[in-house]
């Protein structure tokens, strides 16, 4: 059963800071499919009490909390679950917009160890847009109970980013996860994300569009993703680019990233 890890030695470097964000050095986003345990991990790291429940779709808003690890202060952003970066329901939009335009230092994609294949679709999409990714393979205990063995080294090698096994409910593996997040954020761990999408012509077209987009929307992160969406003929992205809404979206996400959110005190009550 769960043990109180605030007192065990391995956790000596972790300080849960709740909503007292104050100044923080790094922003970490929690992404993943619905019901993979993002909010449970969020609670374990920040000491907060985001509502968790065993059903997909519990988290519909963005929650922020803080923790300190190895003397570095982190802001952790818990996002609604999403199967894809293309989805359109408004909870999934919250997740997508933050991943694309909130410029987190590290994106932790939480995946379900018992359903790796389905979860990897989102991981591969996230790898298309950022290289600073850590894959947290959650529910390792459930996978073991189901008689599944997960080869984390093979997963890391194939994806080109670190994969760490955790059990968010008991706190198992969090030490390793945080060390890895620290390594990726500081650049000590070099990542080489697997980029699978498309033919050479497609990749060339993307490369040609990126500078044009950067000129049209200066300072926009993820011009690559926008290029892909434009090639796809995504009307929403087209209008966002022409109307200047894209620039607003970027500045909005970054402003939020600077604001020390007390919102959670209210949102937690949902």
């Amino acid at each position: 059963m769960s043990h109180n890890c605030e007192t065990c030695a391995s956790f000596s470097e972790l300080a849960r800071m709740g909503v007292n964000l104050g100044k923080f050095d790094r922003v970490v986003a929690l992404a993943g499919n619905p019901n993979t345990g993002k909010s449970t991990l969020f609670n374990a790291l920040t000491g907060l009490k985001q509502h968790t429940g065993n059903w997909p779709g519990k988290t519909v808003t963005r929650a922020e909390g803080g923790f300190e690890f190895n003397k570095v202060r982190y802001k952790l952003v818990d996002l609604p679950g999403t199967y894809s970066l293309l989805s359109a329901s408004s909870d999934e939009e919250i997740a997508r917009d933050f991943l694309l335009f909130g410029t987190p230092d590290v994106t932790v994609v939480v995946i379900d160890a018992t359903a790796i294949e389905r979860n990897l679709n989102l991981v591969l999409q996230v790898l298309e847009i950022t290289s600073r990714v850590v894959v947290a393979v959650n529910l390792m205990d459930e996978a073991a109970r189901k008689g599944m063995e997960i080869d984390l080294r093979s997963l890391s090698r194939d994806l080109g980013v670190p994969a760490v096994g955790i059990v968010a409910r008991t706190g198992e593996g969090l030490q390793g996860l945080l060390t890895t997040v620290d390594g990726v954020a500081s650049g000590e761990i070099k990542t080489q994300p697997l980029r699978v999408a498309g033919t050479p012509e497609f990749q060339r077209a993307v490369a040609e569009l990126v500078p044009l987009i950067q000129e049209a929307a200066p300072g926009v992160p993820n011009a690559r993703w926008i290029a892909i969406r434009l090639l796809d003929g995504d009307a929403e992205v087209e209008s966002a680019l022409t109307s200047g809404r894209l620039a607003d979206l970027v500045s909005g996400q970054q402003k939020n990233a600077e604001r020390f959110s007390q919102k959670i005190a209210l949102q937690g009550a949902q």
């Binding site: 065993n54 997909p56 909870d91 498309g198 033919t199 434009l230 090639l231 680019l241 022409t242």
Partner: protein, 461 residues
């Protein structure tokens, strides 16, 4: 449009042409293919025992034959446990609070504090608070932990699975069952939960109909009426069972209204077909005790109770003032109630009940206390020590009949959502139009339904 943006768009269009039509399908296929290969390399699966157990359970609880009855039995059991369990603590709390009211008011009188200050504070504000706490706290403290256990166990997606065919035939989204379940706790929370629904059309349907599941603020009203009017006509052994059955029936009527209104909306102002969606049935998980206690008691119970208290205190004050300012020998409260009486009578209720609903617009929790305070007036601070006293007050002194009770339950189920919920509808839709419809549609339905029931009832009786 800015010049660089136009250039980028035009070049994108040209490149899209040159790439042909299926390049993105190709890309999606390569993502899926790669995901499958990586997963296969990373996973070694032996034969599983546990997955089999989950499947066996699911075969029963989501079966076409047993699924719905099992849901109804579970819900009925929860209501029954809530009603039986809440009775005694509610009475104890009420006794304690009202004893203190007498003591404090007596002390104020001895110290020479003017009667109207004593009345305002102790028989107004304090009494309102005391009512709300003693009526609401015990049922919530029992209902919410049980509900949270089901949520943590993973039962909610199964509920959605079972009800999917009903919502689909009503032209609504299957995930509306999830948002409906959230509405049991609080309709405002249920409306925020509709963000999981992709299509704006189906999301609006879910928002407009969320009100038809009785939220926790309305449960105490239903429980009280079911206990006093239905339970009391059975032998003591069956009283709580009959009361629980009545509450279950009211909830089922609410589900029927949800489906009927969804159906009507999707064929009129929100025309369209139900969209397809996938819903995972997560494995059953053992609920964590501490998490259940925290979520159900701190997040839910105290949150709802706090909100109720914030509105009960001023409402208590308003009622006391209305009941103590006399114009022409009659209190303002009585004047208003008399004025509303013809309308109230037409729909099988009375003027006092309608007045209570008007004062209770900020929060449904305070309907019953408001009603009782107006009935009791100020001169006679009769304490309602038991359900029998309550029955005497309502039936013998104020002419309630079974019709009044039935229609009050229906009205409570159907009428307009509370101010918080209406505000939430506005925030989620950013439209005054939908917020107005969200308030007036249920209110209109409540009046029509109660009116029809009253007419038919009186014609038969």
């Amino acid at each position: 449009m800015t010049q660089p943006a136009a250039i980028a768009l035009q070049r994108a269009a040209e490149l899209r042409q040159s790439l042909g039509t299926n390049f993105r399908d190709e890309a999606v296929r390569s993502i899926y293919g790669e995901a499958a290969r990586i997963a296969a390399r990373a996973t070694v699966t032996a034969n599983s025992v546990r997955a089999g157990l989950d499947q066996r359970i699911d075969r029963i609880v989501t079966s076409p034959v047993f699924g719905l009855p099992i849901m109804a039995i579970m819900l009925g059991t929860i209501f029954w446990v809530t009603i039986t369990g809440a009775n005694v603590p509610s009475a104890l709390l009420a006794d304690g609070f009202f004893w203190f009211e007498d003591v404090a008011a007596g002390a104020f009188a001895r110290w020479g504090v003017p009667w109207w200050i004593t009345g305002f504070i102790w028989h107004g504000v304090y009494k309102g608070l005391a009512w709300v706490i003693s009526v609401m706290l015990p049922p919530m403290a029992i209902f919410f932990p049980m509900f949270t256990i089901l949520e943590d166990l993973g039962y909610l997606p199964r509920v959605a699975f079972n009800l999917d065919f009903l919502f689909k035939s009503a032209g609504a989204h299957g995930k509306q069952a999830l948002t409906m379940a959230m509405g049991f706790g609080c309709n405002a929370a249920g409306i925020i939960a509709t963000r999981v629904i992709n299509s704006p059309r189906e999301r609006l349907i879910a928002i407009l109909t969320n009100n038809f599941v009785p939220c926790n603020g309305r449960f105490p009203t239903l429980i009280m009426l079911a206990t006093v009017f239905v339970g009391a006509s059975f032998s003591p052994g069956f009283a709580s069972l009959a009361a629980a059955g009545t509450v279950l029936l009211v909830v089922l009527i609410g589900v029927v209204f949800t489906l009927a209104v969804s159906w009507a909306l999707s064929r009129t102002i929100l025309r369209g077909e139900a969209s397809a969606f996938t819903l995972e049935l997560p494995p059953y998980r053992r609920p964590g005790v501490m998490r259940i206690l925290y979520t159900s008691l701190i997040d839910r119970t105290l949150f709802v109770l706090w909100r109720a208290m914030l509105t009960a205190a001023p409402a208590g004050a308003v009622i006391w003032i209305l009941a103590n300012i006399y114009v022409g020998g009659t209190s303002l409260a009585q004047h208003t109630a008399n004025y509303l009486n013809p309308l109230g009578h037409a729909i099988g209720l009375d003027g006092v009940i309608l007045l209570a609903y008007i004062i209770a617009i900020p929060a449904n929790e305070i309907v019953v206390p408001t009603m009782l305070m107006v009935y009791l007036g100020t001169g006679m601070m009769t304490e309602l020590d038991s359900m029998d006293d309550l029955r005497t007050l309502l039936v013998d002194k104020n002419g309630w009949t079974l019709l009044t009770a039935v229609n009050l339950m229906l009205f409570s189920l159907l009428h307009n959502p509370c101010a918080t919920t209406i505000l939430t509808i506005y925030k989620e839709t950013l439209s005054k139009k939908w917020a107005t419809i969200g308030a007036l549609l249920p209110l209109g339905l409540a009046f029509i339904t109660c009116f029809l029931v009253a007419v038919i009832w009186r014609a038969i009786a």
